[in-house]
Each structure stands twice: as structure tokens, then as C-alpha cells.
Symmetry: C2
DNA sequence: GACTGGCACTCGTTACAGTCGAGTGCCAGG
DNA sequence: CCTGGCACTCGACTGTAACGAGTGCCAGTC
């Protein structure tokens, strides 16, 4: 049951070699490449134990060992230090993110950067509306019965929505409405707005009630219910590295999963403060993605978190390096947001 | 040189069978499945001619024939009628597109619909800014030295951009600026704005010149230079149908190409009025995409075209069906836009 | 002159047998 | 508790043979 230090060292060596070579690793090769100070036979005994405990397995009888999901988990939790970033990576991050011109730009640059550095699939969530506050609401008359509602959040996100009014509304009334909604909603967290929006209808003179009601409906829909969350994705081509050896042959289910926003959100959206979440293989809740690992974390200005980002790759991935990169990118993005 | 009717019929039969079965088609199988009224031997002679002319080829000596890019081209140009849509498809299109709530929504629904109907990779360009007119410009003060510039185009597109001002600007001046830019720019085609924007600087009193200059720069950048064009993509999972038999083995180059906005734009952005453009295999200008075929067309309200959409798939695709679907979807989207 | 049936030939696919070697488990001895 | 040695397993690779789909060509027929 107890794994002594050497057995752990053996497991670490197996993980490292397997990640590097992508081939099952045997006892002989192990002692050659690592200074374990014991013979292959001893290593074999340790391996037998590790296998019994479920940390490694043999693809077939006469092959070397391969880490299991459980093995990776142990490796990540107890056997690896987070690698410091190389200066080159550090520079790449800085270079990539300066000159971003608006939120869209920041998100796009970030997701590409992440994909490039980790050589895996990268996912970045736009700052969550639920975690943002209203900075400004704008009502732009398009015609007498149509308004464009534009909402600007403190995180830089801008959402817009066309509103079909039940009756023509004169320009002055639009001005009034604009002042009212801004007065009541500016500065409030979006997650707190629903009751306030409901209340707005009462605040308005009777003639404007129907208009305000439609407006309120759209506000609620836009801000709370509908495509509330947005996601950017990059690096799907990286799935084809390792020539389909990872992902046992078919990219299909993975590509399918990556097309579902809901799935992506689930992957990186559920963030707790300052943790890096690592899901390995079967630990993933999404069936299509068992067989992959996901490293995700939250980002935001200062200590608050406004969204998540992360990468997805084969379970056989360089965890220490990936974790370091994901964290570093999240930190930089946070700083960038803080500047606005 | 001259291909008589029967040889054309043979070519058509080969294309149809190959598209359906994905296997090289032999002379015997051909006469069995199609009423050609001649014997396999005769068909073989015709095949020999077709091969000599470069319309079909043999993967290896003892295999059946497979159409070449040139063969598909002839098939598309002269041997196929555009299939009428099935009622089910027609219904699917209608059902999918009603209830779209804003432009983002329309584009996303469209791209998914196209991917689903054609079972291929779908690409939809947002209405091109260059082909849109300014409907409204909004300047929203964020702080004394920061404005949010929001542009609403007549096609429904909304672009925003943060503007860092060189000096604090009082609210009244913002109002003036807003009135001025709207007065001068509303209704103009975006492609015609650059000189007008330049001229704006002169229109303003000296104290506001620096502010107006920055604003003008940002306007030009946002409206003309930068991410002017946007693209939506869906259905990449469909690349894995046919188990990598299409795309001779590697999805890599294709996925890479699909991540480049520039490439996608090139694919579907170059639209002439009411043509459906079909690029087969080597006809593609993008190296990574030789080996695929692209069917694209323009869409827009009425007869004008504001953007392109299309699908990408294996050269071995159902051209008549795909063409019909792409056209139908483009038409529906155009109608939808016309309603706004 | 165009079509057809027949036939020899090609060549990829499949099946099978045999060899090789990496890697293991186990055991006896230090 | 570790080690060297040894028998064993089993996938990967190689070579051979049989199979069969499909062809090209030719002589014969309408």
C-alpha cells in the first residue's frame, strides 16, 4: 500500500519518459536514463507494485509501462514542481499582449498565445457578464419603433441587442429612458440586476409602461439569460500532433465537444479563486473528453476573477510546463485588464 | 478529344458512384448500377479515353477509377443539375433562422445550420464593413480621458473601440463631437469614409483638434483597417467523416488553414454578384487546402451583397446537393437581413 | 466501324507461418 | 532487500502464397 520514495521516483521517471517519448517505458531504459541507483530487476518489482495500485499499466504483456490517469494524478499532486517559465516564454507573453486594442483583441491574442506556447488547444472565456458591473447603457434610436440597446460592462465587454418597441417613442422619451436605466443600473453587478430591472417598470410614467416592459424583457434576456457567456478557441490543429496516437484514433468526439459553447464553459468556466484546476482523463465530466486532460484557471484584475481560461490536450502532456504557462498567461491578462 | 454522350454518361456515373461509396469504381459495377445499355468492355474503352484526357485516374493498376479534379470540374459544369432541396431541408432552414435575435445570432445560427445540412465545414462572413453604411455613431464617456466609440452599421453590425484621449474632454464637447461625427458620417458607405474622417479634424474648433485627431485615427483603424472582417466557423468535426480517407490522412494543414481569418476570408470573401463559386482541389489558391473543395456564394438583402458564406469539404463531395443548400441558405439569410 | 465476350495479366489485399526482440515475472543467491 | 539470470510472452516485422477485382487487348459478331 505505502509507496516508498523509490517507487515514487520510478513513477515520476515513467511519467517523464512517457511524456517525452510517447512510448511505453521499460525497466531497462528507465535505469539507463535516470540515476535510480538500482538494477532493472528492482525497478521491475516496483513497477509490479505500482501496477497493482493502479498507477501504471501495460498496453500488452511484452510492452513497457504507461501511466494511468491515476498515475498522472499522483504525479501532478505530489511529484512535480511547477516549472519556471523560460525567459523566451516570458518575453513571448509580454510581446503578444502589448498593443491589444480592445477586449476582443485581448481575448483573441490571449487564446492564440496560449495555444502557441502550450502547443495545445486553448480556450479563453470572455469576462463573465455575471461577474461584471454595468458601466453604461446606451439606447440608440434606429427608427421610431426600434432601439439598439448597447451595454458596456466594467470589464470592457460590450453587448448589443435590437429592441422592437410596441409603439413609436419620441426622442425625448428615449432620452428619459436612457437617463433612468443608467441611473438605476450603473455600477450594479449584473447578477444583481434582475430585481432592479423589474422595478424599473414602476418608475416610469404610465404612457411609457409598455415600452419599458419590452425594454426590461430584452435587458433581462441580454444580460442574464442568453449568450451571456462568450468563448474563444484556438489551436485545434494541435490535436493532430502525435499523429492520432493520443486520443486513441479519433478526433471526432473532441472536435464535436469543442464546438459546443456549453461544453467549453463547463471546462473552464467553473473557477474558484486562485486555483488551477486540473482534470485528467476520466476525471472529466464530459464523456467526449475522457481521454484528454484540461488545465484551467481563473483570471481577472487584481484578486477578483472575471473569467476562466485553459488548455486541453492529451492526458500524456507536460503538466508542469502547461500549468506554469496557463498560470502565467492568466496573470498577465489579469494585469492587462486591471489597467483599464 | 471529343467526348461523346456516352463517355460523359460514364463520367457522371463514376462521379456519382464514387461520391456515394467512396471506393474506386470498376467497369462491371458501373454497368450493374446504371442503365448504360452497353457491356463492361465498352465501358472500359470509354474509361481508357477519359483517363487519357485526364478526367479520371486509377489509384493503382488493379483498381477501379476515381475522378480527378478535372473530372469533377467537368461534372459540375456540364453534367449535373442543381438538386432541388428536400422539403425537410427547407423546413430546417426556416425553423433554424426564425427567432434570431441579433446579427451575432443570425450568423451563428446560419453557420451551424450550413454545417449540419451539408455535413461539412461551414464558413460565414459577417456583413462586410466595407459594404455597409454607418447608421449611427455613439461616443460614451468612460472617464474624462476615455471614450467608448460604438459604431452601428445598417447591416446590423456593431463595432466598438476604446479611445484614449490626449486630454480630458468635458461632457458638452463630447456631445458636440457626437453630433458632428453623426452628421458627417451617417449614411455613408464605410469604404467612402476615410476622406470624410480626415476632413472632420478641420471642422472642429482649435481646442478640440488633438482630441478629434485621435478620434479620427481610431475611427479609421476600427472601420477600415483592423479586424474589419469577421468570420464564423462550424462543423470542423465533419472533417473526420470518411475516416481520414479524404484529405489523404492528415487534417493538420486544413485545421491550420481554418484558424487563419485571412485564409477564410480569401475562401468566401471574394464574391461576385449572384454567382456560386466552386473551387475544386488544386484550383484552390491556398496550398493547405488543395485536396479540398469549396463552394461559396454571396448573400445580402435584395440584390446587393454584403458578405459571403460557403462550405469546405473533400473534393469527393455531393456537389449538386451542396450547391443547392449553400444557395438556399444564402437566400434565406438575405431575406432575413432585408427585414431589418 | 462499333460493340462484345473471352482471356491473360497486374497488383493490392488477406492469411499464415516464422523469426526477432523488448520486456516481463520469478527465483536463487549475495 | 537487492541483483543477475533465465524462461516466457507477445507484438512487430518479414516472406510467401492464394485470392480476386479490375484492367487491356484481341478476335469475333452485328
Amino acid at each position: 500500500m505505502g509507496l516508498d520514495d523509490r517507487k515514487l521516483a520510478v513513477l515520476r521517471a515513467i511519467v517523464e519518459d512517457y511524456v517525452a517519448t510517447q512510448e511505453p517505458v521499460g525497466s531497462k531504459a528507465l535505469v539507463e536514463r535516470h540515476q535510480l541507483g538500482v538494477s532493472p530487476a528492482t525497478v521491475r518489482n516496483d513497477m509490479a507494485v505500482l501496477e497493482e495500485e493502479g498507477y501504471i499499466r501495460q498496453p500488452h504483456t511484452s510492452a513497457g509501462r504507461v501511466p494511468t490517469d491515476r498515475g498522472y494524478r499522483l504525479f501532478v499532486d505530489r511529484l512535480s514542481r511547477v516549472k519556471p517559465l523560460s525567459p523566451a516564454e516570458r518575453r513571448a507573453i509580454e510581446r503578444f499582449l502589448v498593443g491589444a486594442v480592445d477586449l476582443d483583441d485581448v481575448v483573441h491574442r490571449t487564446v492564440r498565445l496560449l495555444a502557441q506556447l502550450t502547443r495545445q488547444v486553448a480556450v479563453v472565456q470572455y469576462p463573465s457578464l455575471a461577474r461584471s458591473s454595468v458601466r453604461h447603457l446606451e439606447l440608440v434610436p434606429i427608427s421610431t419603433t426600434r432601439l439598439m440597446l448597447v451595454m458596456i460592462a466594467d470589464t470592457g465587454r460590450v453587448e448589443q441587442r435590437l429592441v422592437e418597441l410596441p409603439a413609436p417613442v419620441p426622442a425625448d422619451d428615449v432620452t428619459d429612458l436612457r437617463r433612468l436605466v443608467n441611473e438605476k443600473l450603473c455600477g450594479t453587478r449584473l447578477s444583481d440586476t434582475p430585481p432592479l430591472v423589474q422595478a424599473l417598470v414602476e418608475e416610469v410614467r404610465v404612457g411609457l409602461r409598455p415600452t419599458m416592459t419590452t425594454l426590461a424583457t430584452v435587458l433581462l434576456e441580454t444580460l442574464v439569460e442568453r449568450h451571456e457567456e462568450r468563448i474563444a478557441l484556438a489551436g485545434t490543429a494541435n490535436l493532430t500532433r502525435g499523429g492520432l496516437l493520443d486520443f486513441h484514433g479519433s478526433l471526432r468526439p473532441i472536435l464535436e465537444a469543442l464546438e459546443e459553447e456549453v461544453v467549453l464553459l463547463k471546462l473552464i468556466g467553473e473557477v474558484e479563486p486562485s486555483t488551477t484546476r486540473i482534470r485528467i482523463g476520466d476525471e472529466n465530466e464530459i464523456d467526449n473528453l475522457r481521454g484528454t486532460s484540461v488545465v484551467s484557471t481563473g483570471y481577472g484584475p487584481g484578486a477578483t476573477i472575471v473569467g476562466g481560461l485553459g488548455v486541453l490536450g492529451p492526458t500524456r502532456m507536460d503538466y508542469p510546463g502547461t500549468i506554469a504557462t496557463v498560470r502565467a498567461v492568466a496573470r498577465y491578462v489579469g494585469e492587462l485588464l486591471a489597467q483599464n
